[in-house]
């Protein structure tokens, strides 16, 4: 049974939904971090369904909305990458308190995966990490965002722009209208600077990095990230699921769920934090 609520962090009202584990519980709570901008709406069904799978398997869950997302206060563009990391850590604290968690695992999807990984670098109490197609290289990711913006302009039959012109707008005006809000210059710089395999140096718990076969260009970077975690002392498994991309508009309308990914992550969770026998 899910329990929606608001909580305060740094003077901001954030929204969360907890679900208690079904008995017998594992004592482990998973905090789920959502992707950037409209990908959050496009993957809402995925995180909701996986949270239900987790609860049925004995794991409590907390999903939450960052500043400017969902039911939380503010607008897209009010926060930065560091704000989201700080909010993820606040959500971990809320999960510990509300669900009396013995341990907390962070799970993140796309930019949420990056946020989860960066949060775990700061909180030694995080027990594990599940990273679904995290943003590994900021330069590639911002190119993807700008391509989406150009595609949206094309669909709207707005004035023709190039990627360089969009970057020029961000530099000149400090922000670019993007998916119902703004991609601000500071956030653009934060995202551009992501180089996740160089940024993980401390976390030493178990990590699962999962990608999908359709995104085969991520295999190399995912392995680099796994190597970085292993160097830091963590155990890291890379999972490649056969699911099709599940964070675009079409996959949402078609009701695509990454069931292979769900199964791989649940099995991995059970291997590390099983139900008490």
């Amino acid at each position: 049974m899910s329990d929606p609520f608001f909580f305060e962090h740094d003077g901001t009202r954030l929204f969360g939904v907890t679900a208690a584990a079904e008995a017998p519980a594992t004592g482990t709570v998973v905090v789920l971090c959502h992707p950037y901008a409209e990908e959050k709406q496009l993957t809402d069904r995925v995180l909701v369904r996986f949270a239900r799978h987790l609860a049925a398997a004995g794991y409590g869950t907390l999903r939450f909305d960052c500043l400017g997302y969902g039911e939380s206060a503010g607008h897209l563009g009010d926060g930065r990458l560091d704000t989201q990391v700080s909010e993820a850590l606040a959500a971990v604290a809320v999960a510990r308190e509300r669900l009396a968690a013995a341990r907390v695992v962070l799970l993140g999807l796309r930019l949420g995966g990056t946020v989860a990984a960066l949060a775990a670098e700061r909180d030694s109490g995080v027990a594990g990490l599940v990273l679904w197609s995290p943003v590994l290289a900021g330069r590639t990711y911002v190119r993807e965002l700008l391509r989406k913006k150009l595609a949206a302009q094309l669909a709207l039959q707005d004035g023709t722009s190039t990627r360089e012109e969009l970057i020029e707008i961000i530099r000149r005006e400090g922000r670019l209208e993007f998916e119902g809000g703004f991609l601000t210059a500071p956030m653009f710089d934060d995202l551009s600077a992501i180089d996740l395999s160089r940024q993980v140096t401390r976390f030493a718990g178990p990590v699962q990095v999962a990608t999908i076969r359709q995104r085969s260009e991520n295999y190399g970077p995912s392995e680099m990230l796994a190597t970085a975690y292993r160097t830091a002392g963590a155990t890291c498994d890379v999972a490649i699921a056969g699911d099709r991309e599940y964070w675009d508009v079409k996959s949402m309308f078609d009701g695509v769920f990454p069931e292979e990914l769900f199964a791989a992550s649940l099995e991995w969770m059970r291997g590390h934090w099983p139900r008490a026998s």
Partner: protein
């Protein structure tokens, strides 16, 4: 004040976010219905933005997750224009009436507009429908794009004819593979629709239902983005004559620069502000409540 809650409806346990104005209860409540499989926040959070502004204007709002969407349980909705059962809206109407509203408005975008219209026909307690970007026959482009209607194809031809003389258009097609690919798909759909032997001879069910709604005593606010070519053309062809411009309880808004989901911020602001202004005229009691907070 915003409050998350669950409530019963037609045998389901549904989730919603209830917004109440700072002054307490309002006599008019606006119920937001899901745009297909998109949760209670709406595409690009348009429902959150609209509900917050409507509440600041004195209205109560309830943003609902119908079965299978967002926080509500049930099978995920199928990809079709009538994926939501209008009977499931009844519990939301019960809820806002129990919260003190006397007048109920149903609001939806895209598929949400269709379920709003159909639910209003089933429930005499609904006085007003706000219909944003209702698809009349065809699906929204790029979403349910297997087929488009004859009317939508003609609308697309009219739209293209204005742009054929613009060199920037041709430059775009010459330089962008994505633009060419998109154009090929659209040309195929338009050609297929225009080459049908018996185009649109049977009146689709939703045309009849929307016609009934427009013929009733309920208030109806209809909005389309000016660039939402297919649905707009279908509405104008099949239902435009029923709007009766002399009736103040009917309104058609064409949003400059608006697409199907009013993705541009200026378009989003325009559709929200014009809707709020119209609702405030139609339901002035909504913003000057005779109720006090419980």
């Amino acid at each position: 004040m915003e409050r998350p809650l669950f409530f019963p409806s037609n045998g389901h346990r549904l989730f919603g976010i209830l917004h109440r104005p700072e002054t307490g209860r309002s006599s008019t409540a606006i119920v937001f219905l899901n745009a297909g499989p998109q949760n209670h926040t709406g595409p690009q959070r348009i429902y959150v933005e609209a509900a917050r502004r409507f509440t600041a204007g004195g209205f109560t709002c309830l943003r609902v997750d119908l079965p299978g969407v967002g926080e509500s349980e049930g099978p995920f909705p199928e990809n079709n224009l009538d994926c939501h059962d209008p009977a499931n809206v009844r519990g939301a109407v019960d809820l806002v009436l129990a919260e003190g509203a006397e007048t109920v408005v149903l609001l939806g975008l895209c598929v949400g507009a269709r379920v709003a219209a159909r639910a209003a026909l089933l429930d005499p307690r609904v006085q007003t429908v706000v219909s944003w970007s209702a698809p009349i026959i065809s699906g929204a482009p790029d979403i349910i794009a297997e087929a488009i209607s004859h009317a939508a194809a003609r609308g697309q031809i009219r739209h293209w004819s204005k742009r054929l003389l613009q060199p920037s258009r041709w430059m775009r097609y010459a330089t962008s593979h994505e633009a060419r690919a998109e154009a090929v798909v659209k040309v195929r759909h338009v050609a297929a629709a225009l080459l049908q032997r018996s185009p649109d001879q049977t009146v689709p069910r939703f045309v009849t239902e929307m016609g009934k709604l427009l013929g009733s005593s309920r208030g109806v606010f209809v909005a389309y983005g000016e660039r939402d070519i297919g649905p707009r053309a279908e509405f104008e062809d099949h239902l435009g004559s029923l709007l009766h411009p002399e009736r103040p309880d009917r309104h058609l808004l064409l949003v400059p620069g608006g697409d199907h989901t009013y993705a541009a911020l200026a378009a989003r602001d325009r559709v929200i502000e014009e809707t709020l202004a119209w609702l405030s005229r139609r339901h002035p009691g909504g913003s000057t409540s005779s109720y006090t907070a419980a």
